[in-house]
Amino acid sequence: MKDIKVLGSGCANCKTTIALIEQVAQDKGVVIQVEKVQDMPAIIGYGVMSTPGVVVDGKVVHAGGVPTREKIAGWLA
């Protein structure tokens, strides 16, 4: 199971990112656990400067803007 965290202060792009990740995971039949991180010090703690950011299994894989489907599929492979 992949542990995925989406970093963001609750803006529209963050919600879109979460929905997209869940959708791609469902299409691929991958079991994931998505967590929303809104706490500002925690977001900064990941070293991300632009939101939404995505953390997969403790590693930052994306920052700034909604990731593409292609990119998400790559994380879940």
């Binding site: 400067m49 632009s50 930052v60 920052a63 700034g64």
Partner: protein
């Protein structure tokens, strides 16, 4: 779309498709932009109107300005989307690291124009820059320039008023950002950041994510995405703004605004700034209204002050910044920017 089984075309092929598409679209764009008057004349004539009537004049204004502004917006937003891929926040941070006040303020203000910025990432961006050891005042120059010298506003001014007004807006906006950042730096307000921010700002190098490597295919794609995101979001405001502008243009008598927004009314500049604070819209929506007001005798400085205030002093951004800054620093920030905008308003009213 299943990207696993389909072999995806190589980057090179996609890049070629992009170049062919651009080779077709760019001349088409240029042709359309140069035939706007013909199109508007044709629509007015086809509707059985003449420009001598108020209705005909309003319709002409609308069918001329709507495609003009949308074309400009699409072109510029695409180019900016591509340019921004060269200035990821991580890059900006690296460029600003180790810069002192003065040079740093100028560089920060310039980077503020080209770095992709969304008010919902203002706080992580702000702290990321601070954590690279960049002084508070320099960071503020960036934070002020980013929303204030808005690329959409700049291009719309260029398209609707000509290059002199656009250049003046650019220079004045940069000056406000640079000077305001220097003043905030001098005031030594580091202790007015929230405690956790102070802790992060002292511990060096919080930002660790380096961003993605980007080739030209990704850059062009980013331009297209930027158009989809920005133009897709603002076009209703643009059309509504132009419709309102068309109404003012056709029906409100000449010089109607001169008495309340003319250059003789000294109090009109501060009033314009105050009116702008609670308003939250984007440059693309404001500028058509601005143009119509100007046509009716409003002074350019007053109108520009209103526009800058709407864009740079927005209440929602202040609320987001409150997560990282204590009220006194936010108040200082808003106060200094407001003074800068007032100054811009008066200078424009004096020289033009």
């Amino acid at each position: 779309m299943n990207t696993d089984t389909l072999p995806s075309p190589s980057d090179r092929v996609i890049l070629w498709r992009w170049l062919v598409a651009l080779a077709v679209l760019a001349p088409a764009w240029w042709w359309a932009y140069n035939h706007l008057t013909d199109g508007a004349d044709w629509v007015v004539a086809a509707a059985g109107l003449t420009r001598q009537t108020a209705l005909g004049e309003a319709v002409h204004f609308f069918v001329y300005d709507t495609p003009k502004v949308l074309l400009l917006l699409t072109g510029v937003v695409f180019v900016m989307g591509v340019v921004q891929t060269f200035f990821a926040p991580e890059r900006t941070r690296a460029l600003l690291a180790g810069k002192r006040a003065g040079v740093g303020n100028v560089l920060a203000a310039l980077l503020g124009i080209v770095t992709p910025f969304c008010s919902c990432s203002a706080v992580p961006l702000f702290i990321g820059i601070l954590s690279a050891g960049v002084p508070l005042g320099v960071t503020f120059s960036f934070l002020i320039a980013a929303p204030m010298v808005n690329e959409v506003a700049l291009v719309m001014l260029l398209g609707l008023f000509g290059w002199k007004v656009a250049a003046l807006y650019l220079v004045m906006g940069l000056t406000v950002a640079i000077v305001a950042g220097m003043v905030i730096g001098r005031l030594g307000m580091e202790q007015h950041m929230e405690d956790w921010v102070q802790a992060v700002a002292k511990g060096q190098g919080a930002a660790t994510y380096d961003g993605d490597g980007a080739g030209w295919r990704q850059r062009l794609q980013a331009g297209a995405d930027h158009v989809k995101e920005i133009v897709g979001k603002v076009w209703p405001y643009v059309v509504a703004g132009i419709a309102l502008g068309a109404g003012i243009h056709g029906y409100v008598p000449e010089d109607f605004m001169a008495s309340i927004m003319g250059r003789d009314a000294w109090w009109s500049v501060p009033v314009a700034v105050l009116l702008g604070v609670p308003m939250y819209t984007n440059a693309a929506g404001v500028i058509p209204i601005v143009q119509a007001l100007l046509g009716k005798g409003a002074a350019l400085g007053t109108v520009l002050a209103f526009m800058m205030s709407v864009i740079a002093l927005s209440a929602p951004e202040m609320i987001i910044l409150r997560k990282a800054l204590k009220p006194r620093l936010i108040a200082t920030f808003a106060g200094i920017v407001a003074c800068g905008i007032l100054l811009v308003g008066y200078v424009f009213n004096l020289v033009l």
